[in-house]
Amino acid sequence: MKNLFEKWKTRIPKYSEVHKDIFTSLSQKFGAEGEKKINLGKHFSTNYELYTYAFFLGLYNNEFSPIPDGEKKTDFSHHIQHWGSKTTVSTRKDFTNLQENMFIALLAKTDIDLVALEKGELDEDDAVKALVKTMESYTNGGLILIKEKLEENPNYFLQPTSFLNMILEKEKV
């Protein structure tokens, strides 16, 4: 394996069980589209959409919050490379570009000794682990921000623009 990106894609990032409620209430586990999604009161078609959203939200707000050691971690057994997979839902677009950008951000934000990596002194798996950890930390930060919003105003997300606004609000960091 000589490609960090390829290797990183095969991983399943985790989130803290503390945030399980957010996933249940905001996203649809088995995928919903259009009217069904709205009828169920869900905003995100899938769990990984919410995960991606939380990651960027955390990133833009510089909310780097590693999951505390005491908290139980969980995942939704979906490899990053299958996020937004074209085969699942015909009406949606694939996430390849988003995956690459996530990776770009992670590499920028993770302290990896690239020289050591290329020399073979640093294990590739360790580097990928570091990237995933960064991802989990920003996502955790994003989830905390969402939780705060909800606590502040439980109806905040009833507006169709609410999630978009949270991303737009943050001007270029």
Partner: protein
């Protein structure tokens, strides 16, 4: 088949023997109300379909009166028919025995048949069987047309469907499709049993079977929903038209309704154009990357810094190792000891372009062929090309400094995303524009809604000027608006159910395919092949049957409309729509008069009559096409809503059709004002016909005494 003669003996007003010698073409029987016209029709109907019940009600009072107590006479209706050159006589009769004054008993009811072959040899046959053979029951049913009150021959659920089955070739496929289904089911079962032997997929297989059963059930449920919704839509549309008929200013109402519909359509179109899937666009349109540029920059800087470090280290490493020292040194000097760029920068294509143009596009100076700058560029290109050739004569036995090359890939990622930055910068604008677009549409919708309210108020005003009483008016108004709403909702339901059914069907198909896949890997391949063949065969039979049925309906509709146009020449016709419906697994065929694609729920009587007559003619024509034989059509007062002029026109038109027609009518008769005597109007002379009779009561008669009643048949 042609009816040559009808003879009526002692049947109600037909005292003794009365004979109608009929012609092949149009036979017109004129008669005033109560003078025997309808009794003629009923006697024929009795012959065709009559029962052996209350026969004493059919006896001629005059005949009974003349008969001595204890004596008896026969009541009889007989028909002489010619078919394929052979003559047959069918007679239905019974014996009436006078018991006392005005009372009789009946006995020995019989249907006799006499068959006469071409050489004139006569033989006694079963009368009912003979009738059914020469004039099949289903056709008989559509040959008799009694006035306007009994048009409902088409309204029975399955009447028309049965008829179509009788005539269309679809019926031939019945036995095959049943057999096909039976065999296919057997084969399916065999494949399933064979698949179940394979334990590997047991659980999945069971689940799929469960899913399929569930989906089939759902599908059936939604079919029921859809059918009842369609039924409701028809009912509501009927109600609306009924309400509209109360309204004096129907034209204005129609215009308004059209305008309201237009506005509603515009609103729904605009609503559809508003795209508020903002959260979805975060992903699908990559809006979530709106603030990403700085991170990309951070990444690019990191990668390029690392790339520089790497080259620095490599250069130092190379120098230290003393490999190609001279060359490196010279290069280093040339670069004033700066770190050399990678060989592939600028790229081969760019180098070639610059050489070709004789310009160094890096420092934007001329580099003429032969100049130092030109030579430099040439050398650089050469170095790059050499670096691409693997030098197997100089294997590098030494351990390299870097075991892996991530830099190149990261570099490529950085460069490929550089182009995307431009798009990222546009996201804010795109979002802003979409917000503006959506806001504009919402404003448009608001304006349209105001307009809609205005039009609706206007409609209420028009409905208010209705011709019915004031107390009923508010009901109509209330209902009218409720119906409009209901109609809109039901239409939406119809769309929803249809799409739900479609998605259920595709889901079902997917599950079945999945199950088939397991079969393919688990079941015996011979069984699968057999099953597939049987499936195909069943599909072919079912499809063919359907197609033949549809074909027939289509034909019937086309022909009916052609007749309708002929009958209603010079006036409004509308269009007959004949359509198949599947109601709870039962196929029915329905008839509806349409105008501009909308059902016409309250056609006037004459239009409705001409519609039914047209269908009868069409059926008769189709009967000819399948049986190669024309059947007579017998009409009782079909044109009573037509008026003399239209009746004459109608008669002249049907005169041209090929069937034998027996038509009973009270048109063309009038009573002299002075003498009170009935006479035939002059107009009748211009009516084309082959034969005409006048049935009238023998005079004088006592209108209070049935025993004085006798209908004369006068040949005209």
């Amino acid at each position: 088949m042609i009816i040559r003669k009808i003879q009526i003996d002692n049947y109600l007003c037909y005292y003794d023997t009365n004979t109608f010698e009929l012609s092949e073409g149009l036979n017109i029987i004129l008669g005033e109300n109560g003078e025997g016209k309808t009794k003629f029709f009923e006697s024929v109907d009795w012959l065709f379909n009559g029962e052996n019940r209350e026969l004493d009600m059919l006896v001629s009072a005059k005949k009974l009166n003349e008969t001595e107590i204890g004596d008896s006479f026969r009541v009889r209706v007989s028909m002489t028919v010619e078919q394929y050159g052979e003559k047959s006589i069918i007679t239905k009769s019974f014996l009436a025995k006078k018991e006392k004054a005005n009372e009789c008993s009946t006995s020995s009811f019989m249907i006799e048949g006499i068959s006469e072959n071409s050489s004139g040899e006569r033989s006694q046959v079963d009368g009912q069987a003979l009738l059914d053979r020469i004039f099949p029951f289903q056709i008989r049913k559509y040959s008799m047309f009694k006035g306007e009150a009994e048009l409902n021959i088409f309204e029975s659920d399955s009447a028309l469907a049965n008829l179509i089955n009788l005539f269309s070739e679809a019926k031939h496929y019945d036995k095959y499709s049943e057999k096909g289904a039976f065999l296919r089911e057997k084969a399916e079962k065999a494949v399933e049993d064979s698949s179940k032997l394979d334990k590997k997929n047991e659980a999945l297989y069971k689940k799929l079977e469960g899913d399929i059963i569930y989906l089939e059930r759902e599908k059936a449920k939604y079919l029921v929903h859809l059918n009842s919704t369609e039924e409701e839509i028809r009912k509501i549309e009927g109600n609306l038209q009924l309400a509209e008929s109360h309204v004096s200013n129907a034209d204005a109402l129609e215009t308004l309704n059209r305008r309201i519909k237009d506005i509603e359509e515009k609103i729904s179109y605009l609503t559809g154009r508003i795209d508020e899937n903002y959260t979805t666009s975060l992903f699908d349109e990559n809006w979530i990357l709106v603030n990403f540029e700085s991170f990309h920059k951070e990444f690019a800087e990191k990668v390029s810094a690392h790339s520089k470090t790497r080259r620095e280290l490599q250069s130092e490493f190379d120098k230290q190792k003393g490999i190609k020292v001279g060359e490196k040194k010279a290069k280093a000097e040339l670069l004033n000891n700066a770190i050399p760029l990678p060989n592939n920068i600028p790229s081969k294509a760019i180098m070639e372009e610059m050489l070709d143009a004789e310009i160094c596009k890096v420092c934007n100076r001329e580099a003429k062929k032969g100049s130092e700058a030109y030579e430099f560029m040439m050398k650089r290109l050469k170095t790059y090309l050499e670096s691409q050739v693997t030098e197997d004569n100089e294997p590098d036995k030494d351990e390299p400094l870097f075991k892996y090359d991530y830099t190149n890939r990261l570099d490529n990622l950085s460069i490929s995303h550089e182009d995307n930055l431009k798009n990222l910068r546009l996201i804010r604008t795109i979002i802003k524009e979409l917000f503006e677009f959506n806001d504009d549409r919402k404003k448009d919708i608001e304006e349209l809604n105001e307009q809609l309210e205005k039009e609706k108020t206007e409609r209420e005003k028009i409905l208010g000027n209705s011709s019915i009483g004031a107390e009923k008016l508010s009901d109509v108004l209330k209902n009218y608006n409720a119906w409009q709403r209901d109609l809109k909702n039901r239409n939406q339901d119809q769309v929803d159910y249809t799409s739900k059914l479609k998605s259920l069907e595709s889901e079902l198909k997917a599950k079945k395919e999945e199950k088939d896949k397991i079969d393919t890997s688990s079941a015996n391949s011979f069984l699968i092949k057999t099953r597939n063949i049987l499936r195909d065969i069943e599909t072919i039979f079912i499809d063919t049957k359907e197609n033949k049925f549809e074909e027939f309906i289509e034909k019937l509709q086309t022909k009916s409309n052609r007749f309708l146009e002929i009958i209603n020449i010079d006036s409004f016709t509308g269009e007959i729509s004949i359509y198949k419906k599947n109601r709870l697994g039962k196929t029915t065929v329905e008839v509806q008069l349409m105008q501009n694609g909308r059902p016409l729920y309250k056609p006037n009587e004459s239009l409705e009559t001409s519609m039914y007559i047209s269908i009868l003619f069409a059926i008769s024509e189709l009967a000819y096409e399948t049986k190669n034989e024309y059947y007579p059509l017998i009409f009782d007062a079909p044109t009573s809503s037509f008026g003399d002029y239209k009746t004459a026109q109608f008669l002249n038109l049907i005169y041209e059709t090929k069937n034998q027609k027996i038509l009973v009518t009270k048109n063309f008769l009038d009573r002299d004002k002075a003498t009170k005597k009935l006479f035939i109007k002059k107009d009748f002379e211009s009516v084309k016909r082959d034969k005409a009779f006048w049935v009238k009561l023998e005079e004088p008669f006592n209108k209070n005494d049935l025993t004085t009643i006798n209908t004369q048949v006068i040949n005209l």
